[in-house]
Symmetry: C2
Subunit: 284 residues, 2 copies
């Protein structure tokens, strides 16, 4: 596997690969890779000639009171994991090349960026769409791979690609979970043993939501209410939101409708660690 | 010359041209072409294998109280002019493909978009950078050509290209003027005979600024003051601004410095028609 640091080299490499008619896949990450990331790399490898994994802890998507400085990093381990997973190129741009002094251009997907996560993290998606637009320019991918764990991010990026005619196919891959059900996240290392154990309620509550809909419950408020109640039994849990929305448009829906995918998404803080999780439910 | 209407066809054409290693030049316009536009097409033709001229009156860069609806259009004449000037492709996308229902993604260059023109047209440059980003995605140019008459636009677009790593060379070309000195503009057709005659004061005042600096005046306030005074002698003129700024950064400067290009930029309304003009002065 080749490691590229310079943005100039990255762009030159991608232009050459395009001219040689290679199919380019991009897996954008913030590093500290887990099995969720590796599933994206493996998926990319199955349909692309060149798989570029980028690692960049993007300051623009953290607000000043968030965990940018302490976000976990381990570039040696990440390099090994990328190689084994089948990445062709590891792109690790330095912050001062991505955001040089005086940087001032931002891409924003209005409305979709200000609901759900956006209510609690107002500049988050603006940072995400900006860095993804930059990474697309630098790596010129035919396909880009994102994890369904960041469900709203997937919707926001698809919207940006469509609106700005970026011509990149956005591929999403299912959430990968620990054996006990906790969704894989680089942030799980922040959890104490007690918090880690209590956080299992997230997946349990999402499974309960499936069960309720399978048993005929169609009322969104009833299902969301039960999910909330389950989470609230845990002493270290503070709910930011539990929402049920249309999985494609993220619009509010009053009820689960047969055949229409609904997204049940939640954000819950356990102590000082904020976790998100979600599931898609299609009523039968 | 080939005319392309569909955004899908445009992108396919450009991808093919890239694979055939053609050098692509883009001349983005709002149509109603004049000699200024034609000089850009001719310039593009000298260094590119494929010259794409786009015509799109971009609603996103007009505010609701501006002249979007009455902006002059003449596609038959434009087609003839493009052909004679050496354009290879005329791209005329329909509005509902550029901004389909629910469109919500915008590219914004902060700070540079909110000064000078931006003070009077707060959403103007956001509209410009958004449509130019879209046109770049659709036409995949190596070079893009812009007229120096929109001096701030040139600076804003160069900044977007650098920040978002768009990898497009932004080429600017000098202002083209009528024989009597009025800067070419599609909006000149709005002027009454009287206003047209009074508007000649713009170029006269810019020449006077050159003369003052040539004669040793270094104080920006003095030069700007004289330019304003000259314009104010015209009964139909209302000044939006007369500014002297660093030509590259658009930062305010107190004085003309030897060898450093200063931009003298102005916006003046004659009746209901708003004209802009500018010149670059390098003190000796």
């Amino acid at each position: 596997m080749k490691t590229i640091v310079s943005t100039f080299e990255m762009q030159k490499f991608s232009e050459q690969a395009r001219l040689r008619k290679k199919n380019i896949g991009l897996v954008p990450t913030m590093g500290y890779l887990h099995k969720g990331h590796l599933s994206l790399i493996a998926k990319a490898q199955r349909s692309c000639d060149v798989v570029i994994t980028s690692i960049f802890v993007n300051p623009a998507q953290f607000s000043p009171n968030e965990d940018f400085a302490r976000y976990p990093r381990n570039i040696e381990q990440d390099t090994q994991l990328c190689t084994s997973a089948g990445s062709t190129v590891l792109f690790v741009p330095p912050e001062n090349e991505m955001y040089p002094e005086g940087y001032s251009t931002y891409v924003n997907v209005e409305r979709l960026s200000s609901i759900l996560e956006g209510k609690f993290r107002p500049t988050h998606f603006r940072g995400v769409t900006t860095v993804v637009a930059k990474l697309f320019s630098l790596t010129k991918p035919h396909k880009a791979f994102f994890g369904q764990k960041d469900a709203q991010q997937c919707v926001v990026i698809k919207k940006m690609v469509k609106d700005l005619n970026l011509g990149v196919e956005v591929v999403t891959a299912p959430i990968v979970r620990e054996k006990d059900g906790l969704a894989m996240s680089s942030r799980n290392v922040y959890l104490s043993a007690e918090e880690r154990s209590q956080a299992l309620i997230l997946y349990a509550s999402l499974r309960r939501a499936h069960e309720m809909v399978d048993n005929g419950e169609r009322n969104v408020a009833v299902v969301a209410g039960e999910v909330k109640q389950m989470i609230e039994t845990k002493s270290s849990a503070t709910i930011d939101y539990v929402a049920v929305v249309d999985a494609e448009s993220l619009a509010d829906i009053p009820s689960f409708e047969r055949g229409i995918p609904a997204l049940v998404a939640l954000a819950v803080r356990f102590g000082s660690t904020r976790l998100i999780d979600n599931t898609i439910i299609k009523a039968r």
